[in-house]
Symmetry: C2
Subunit: 108 residues, 2 copies
């Protein structure tokens, strides 16, 4: 009938983050990301050509911008927009339960 | 620090639905919609030039497509994509608590 963003979550801690494309259109991708304690590798920064609007729907995460000194602590409902090429990384996600992100990537 | 999709919800039933633009870019609009029991007027159908991907984040709603006989009952996490010009209406939203929608409108 309809798909659900909270369906099929890992019941235990998974080794890898899960990425699932929800919608793909020219210049637009909506993706569900499920983290279970993962963080970006040490020293790694995302540097994306597309803009990315992201919201945490469940769980908690710390997202760090290279141009800020402190990570932003995101909880359910917290959202932010990541401009193209603004370097960022995930410093931390909640280790004991899945963190569900919804990301909207858009070309600018 | 960051905005929250669940902040500023009406504490009681509001007369009108609330619409808040979260992000606007060329060909893209992300919007939060808060319903408190409202439905589309009788006989009214949305007929949109843009595509719309929509998810219910909190609460419940019944969304009806003109080309289907039964409304789809959406609960938290349920999402669907509405193709341009696919006529649809909101038959019902939960009357006693806010229903929070996230809608992504995109040009095709």
């Amino acid at each position: 009938m309809s798909d659900n963003l909270f369906a099929g979550l890992p019941s235990a801690v998974a080794v890898d983050e899960q990425f699932r494309a929800i919608l793909q259109r020219p210049g637009l991708k909506i993706e569900r990301i499920v983290s279970t304690g993962q963080a970006s590798p040490p020293g790694f920064w995302y540097d994306q050509a597309d803009g990315e609007w992201v919201v945490v729907l469940q769980g908690e995460a710390k997202l760090r911008f290279a141009d800020e000194t402190e990570a932003r602590h995101l909880k359910a409902g917290d959202h932010l927009d990541i401009a193209p090429h603004r370097r960022h990384r995930v410093d931390w996600t909640q280790p004991d339960a899945p963190t569900v992100w919804l990301a909207v990537f858009y070309s600018v």
